[in-house]
Symmetry: C2
Subunit: 432 residues, 2 copies
Amino acid sequence: LHSGAADKVRQLLSVLHPAEIGDLLESLPHGPRELLWELVPSEEQGEVLVEVNDEVRSGLIDEMETHELVQATGGLDTDDLADLLHDLPGAVIHELLLSMDKQNRQRLEAALSYPEDTAGGLMDLDVVTVRANVSLDVVLRYLRLRGEIPELTDSLFVVNRFDHLQGLLPLSTLLTNDPEASVAEVMNRDVEGIPATMKSIDVARLFQDRNLVSAPVIDENNKLLGRITVDDVVDVIRDEAEHNIMSMAGLDEEDDIFAPVVTSARRRAVWLGVNLATAFLASWVIGLFESTLDKVVALAVLMPIVASMGGIAGSQTLTIMIRGLALGQVGSSNARSLMLKEIQVSIMNALIWSLVVAVIAMAWFQNMDLGLIIGAALIINLIFAAVAGFTIPLILKRVGVDPALAGTVLLTTVTDVVGFVAFLGLGTWYLT
Amino acid sequence: LHSGAADKVRQLLSVLHPAEIGDLLESLPHGPRELLWELVPSEEQGEVLVEVNDEVRSGLIDEMETHELVQATGGLDTDDLADLLHDLPGAVIHELLLSMDKQNRQRLEAALSYPEDTAGGLMDLDVVTVRANVSLDVVLRYLRLRGEIPELTDSLFVVNRFDHLQGLLPLSTLLTNDPEASVAEVMNRDVEGIPATMKSIDVARLFQDRNLVSAPVIDENNKLLGRITVDDVVDVIRDEAEHNIMSMAGLDEEDDIFAPVVTSARRRAVWLGVNLATAFLASWVIGLFESTLDKVVALAVLMPIVASMGGIAGSQTLTIMIRGLALGQVGSSNARSLMLKEIQVSIMNALIWSLVVAVIAMAWFQNMDLGLIIGAALIINLIFAAVAGFTIPLILKRVGVDPALAGTVLLTTVTDVVGFVAFLGLGTWYLT
């Protein structure tokens, strides 16, 4: 990049927000990415680091000197800093801690004391609190004196002198009521704080169902700890949805699409290896029927149809279950009805498609019995596929394994094995 | 349900928000769902209808009399009503239009004039506007006189007398500045309205990147039309992510998981039929090599391995592409580097796994040549899989077909056909 081009890029960067610079960095291959990174003003580098995915972030951090990192991250909010901290080198953390005052160090420790995927891990500490016994006019004067209100503040939090949450004072209430009224008279008392231990996915559902912009986070004694804002919740929702789609292909949503070839190859090799094991299991099952295949080669020609239809039907049930479990739509109360429905649907489709397949097979190989065998095998496999697609995610969830990650492999193992055993087994039985 | 239980349910419903009642209805099978619906207070039924998915909604509407529907939907905001309108019976629409005043009728027409998936279709009309030349004190008095501010208002919109957008007055700015200052002095001028024709997916990205709570929507002359709020954007983000995961299994995110068995079976039958066609194509390819299979039955035992490994490797590339296209991460500028990377990754994995497969096949069948043949076939198929996983979504996107929907079918067709042709073709060539 010659210097004229660099100036143009700098100009472009100055109108982009940190998240947009992050998107741009993520979509650049290595080389151009590092060049662009050097042009990002150092006072913005910290916020960009917060926005990019884990892998891109650690790559960028590796490029930077200790003093650059301290400068870039020194101005961050403690909650953002808490998110970054495990990626920073020890020397940088040490310098950052030294440069902090006691209050900020305590805040950082508080933010680090909750797991990342809980309300405590999501919260920031930019709360504006007021007392219930003052008048709105006092609140208005206090805000003017304060001079600024943190981003995404739609409510002030009303607390007593022990910092216990008493209610919310929405800015709209503050603005539309008589300044002589007291906070206690107009505040919203019908508010439950979010426990710091609540899972972030449940926090996301709460925000979504109640159209919240921000909400207070409390400890087990109703003491105000911080707040969660809708921007963090949007990230949780997007990450969760992407996690499901990526996991189903054995990928991770935090991976860099331009990771080094060796790194990507190694990661995907694991998934290919797991699938190879199940493919060999299927082959071994086919091998049990070698003598049958030797006699009727048409069975070898048709056998992928039985396995593949089972895989497709099963993956439909599996996808509905994975999404239903993620949305909390599927639980013990409706599991029975849903399973019944899935089995009925699969029986209907089994009847229709086994008829079609049977007729085509008969016509193709001029063999009535072959048609009957493949039709029967297809019915068996589609019903097994529905049962497997329904039970596998429930079992995985109970044993604490991510259904989106392991579900597809287990399902196709079942549909391959059942499909081959049913089809080749029926063929063998017919021959003897 | 006896009446005591009904009272308890009513009590439960009274503490739930409309979106939560909607979630509950969606997760109930038919029967219980209709019973619960009758217990929802009629003044809340309209808002619940807005929250449930398309299919559940039309089921609930079918249950209701014309006068019940008019009562339930009469109190809705025009933007919510616009979303519902195409599901309501003609008689209900007629009565609703008659009961509206001219202004509301015009608002409804405006909301209906933009497609659902654009900024115009997302916007509501609850804007609070102020003029630039008044003082903040005047604004404060105006808000008190107004008595309420619409939900999710974080900024007032500053317009001139032609309703052209001039800037934003965030509530936090209003609250922290001297009441004597004029709006013009403190307002945020650095604001671009969202064009009404912008795609909702781009609106969502903008909200996410810039941490917005609400944003003004304008026409081509910079005239203020309405506003978009973060709650609608959250729905867009969730729907988009769910759409991808559901489409990949040939499902629709708006479907009712408790749809009647016949309805569900018919929908899924289409997907099974499409896949059956590709499975028969694969079978036909195998059939071309019938005489080879007749001679070496081991080929029949091993052939699913080549096809299945290709399918897995290809689906990894495909998933990365589908997500990258949805996030705007993949474009013409980086497509070349990404394709190069995917091919390199696939070559590395092809070399590793073909070696493993070759060794196992040799040991299993005590046949050196069989190992070499399957190893070579696997290398060919994995490289084709990467190219197909990369190019198929790009081609589909260019011709306007959803890559998430059609990508998987096309990809497995390629990997099955290439896998069988490579493996059985090499086997035939070796025999002759």
